[in-house]
Homo-oligomer: 391 residues x 2
């Protein structure tokens, strides 16, 4: 009788887990069920390109079926409602599933820090559908400006200057001249703000790269408001702690992530931001049959004493590791504790520029760094066996 | 010393006037100044295609400069503010112009019949910019539906079932399946209404063609509410006289046209809907040096005793006539009274169907009629010498 492995979420972590497990486990050993709310895998690291309108929705959508075809992986397209780890059951909106082993890879949610009005009156960029809403909203703002001449329609605010915020504002900076030309509006009517509560943009990057990014973006019209928290949001208005009010119809919030509510509700041990605590094998504390990976968990970098940031890079590595751990669980065998290999981080700054930290000692900027970023996406697509279509 | 002819508006009537006049009048006779608020000529008969998103904005935009190149026509890109026919002067927003002869071809405006909220909460389709606003709004409605599941986002109401209303609702009917597929929304969530106060759709068409149009559109999901006036519009709600309320985020008003306010303010004699009264040579009553043509004027069909509807076909014929009249004014010569030649009328019903009345006795439907409509557009473009680009 094969053991049933249920994997919740077909993001970077979940999809790689399923594929890695199937490299070794046969259908006689194991039944693999992958649960995802869409029938496609989303390249969430590319959503800033979609949200700004630089690329089409299909460029970030990998259909799952061709990737898992002939691999004995069952895809269930459904929403996860709750997990009962004591009963070893998962409730979906259309059915219930029991499991022998569970992999929770449900990603993260947005943290709004209780800022009044922020959730209600901001866009976020965690799915293709949200990116499409942002893109169509911006195009409508440009079209509407012809009639009302309301300058708040051409004022765009990105909240948060971490990785996601910087990449988005970079895309915006490159997209605005195109939208202005299409709509016959002078570029100097557009205002582009990046608001960050922390004292600097891009925490974790070296000072030199941060300055390089700031210069590149400032030259293309981005105005940085750093060390200035957002304190309240109303329709059409963003209130800052320094008393300033920005009149805008478009606030995109990239300023916070927290764990998945389903993980918290299931009773797994979590840190204050709701990400699950896991052991060195990425198992939920107290549950050897449950792995929690990707943005849903948190692990500490022993060198710095601080948690690793939630990235696609680490999520994919966790997927590979858990694919192997599960095979050891099923067949017996030893497990190596998980240790992320940080190859580097690359933040794109629009269509032609990027900053990259490669390994511990190297850095790169400009067109070269941008190409490296594109290559890392292609490398990932090749790894999961996704056909590469031209966007 | 050449005489100065000022033409206000480079729509069908104004542009054809300038080109026709220049077939005969030399720069020594005549200075020709064409005033238009854009540097492009708009194919307003195609705007329903743009508004629904079936074709790109550029397909309805003919740049004026290449059309008038080497023809000694001066294009002034400016808004007309007022006309003083006694002083023979025109005030633009950036300058004033005096004239020897004036051609007023400023088109029509939308008639809202004093229905409360209609102007404030509806879209209209009289320019490319307005079509773009409608298109981007609809795309945003689909994107937003993913989050709110608010059915009013997928409910579309076209007010008016005349020519423009029917053509638009036909485009909508063909566009909705595409938008549904792109957004992964079942087509049966979309509601498409055409609301008309008069007892029938398409006044002026034969009963047989009207029934054919109704059938074609009903089969593609259009719901007709005929004989039901709109009595009030609020944000998100259209109130009908029968007490029904349609919850919608998208009302497009095509139900009324009236003359141009600038013509009224200049003191020209007008009929109650503000269209200028003109003599048999299309001259403003009491002003032999002013021609008022296109949708800005009205002329009576002596056979029926009713005014001709404002159409591109008649506007173009008026342009040709006035080009000749002006040459007669400048050089001397006889003028023939203006008499429109109604070749027929064709209403498209989406991307593949149309109904056509050709001459007095012929009618056509289906794909053939649609092709005739497309040909009449190409014929017009060839006539004005516009380069035909693939849309």
């Amino acid at each position: 009788m094969p053991k049933r492995v249920v994997i919740l979420g077909a993001g970077y972590a979940g999809l790689v887990t399923a594929l890695e497990l199937r490299k070794n486990a046969t259908p006689e050993d194991t039944e693999v069920i992958l649960v995802n709310k869409h029938n496609y895998h989303q390249l969430v690291t590319q959503l800033h390109e979609l949200g700004a309108g630089a690329k089409s929705d299909t460029s970030a959508r990998i259909m799952i079926e061709p990737v898992i075809r002939n691999k004995y992986i069952t895809l269930i397209k459904d929403h996860v409602e709750s997990i009962d780890p004591k009963e070893k059951r998962v409730r979906l909106s259309q059915q219930e599933l029991s499991y022998d082993y569970l992999v929770v890879a449900l990603g993260s949610e947005t943290e709004y820090f209780g800022i009044p009005g922020l959730k209600e009156h901001s866009f976020i960029l965690k799915s293709i559908n949200q990116a499409r809403l942002l893109r169509t909203h911006i195009e409508r703002c440009f079209a509407e400006y012809h009639y009302t001449r309301d300058e708040s329609l051409l004022t765009f605010v990105v909240g948060g200057a971490g990785f996601s915020g910087i990449e988005l504002v970079g895309e915006f900076a490159d997209r605005m001249p195109v939208l202005c030309e299409e709509n016959n509006i002078p570029l100097d009517k557009v205002k582009l703000f990046n608001v960050e509560a922390a004292p600097s943009i891009l925490p974790g990057f070296d000072k030199e790269l941060v300055e390089r990014a700031e210069k590149s973006l400032t030259e293309r019209g981005v105005k940085f408001l750093v060390g200035v928290p957002i304190v309240q949001v109303e329709p059409g208005k963003v209130h800052l702690k320094n008393g300033d009010v920005i009149a805008t119809q478009t606030l995109v919030w990239t300023g916070g992530v927290r764990g998945n509510q389903i993980v918290i509700d299931a009773g797994f041990e979590t840190e204050p931001r709701g990400r699950a605590k896991v052991n060195e094998y990425l198992q939920a504390l107290g549950y050897e049959d449950v792995y929690i990976i990707g943005d849903s968990c948190f692990i500490i970098n022993e060198e710095t004493g601080r948690p690793y940031p939630p990235t696609a890079q680490i999520a994919g590595q966790m997927g590979t590791a858990v694919g192997k751990y599960l095979f050891a669980d099923l067949r017996g065998g030893t497990k190596e504790p998980f240790k992320p290999q940080i190859m580097g981080s690359i933040a794109s700054l629009g269509r032609k520029d990027a900053i990259a930290k490669i390994g511990k000692n190297y850095q790169a900027t400009g067109r070269f760094a941008y190409i490296v970023k594109d290559m890392s996406k292609l490398r990932y697509l090749a790894k999961i066996g996704a056909v590469i279509k031209k966007a």
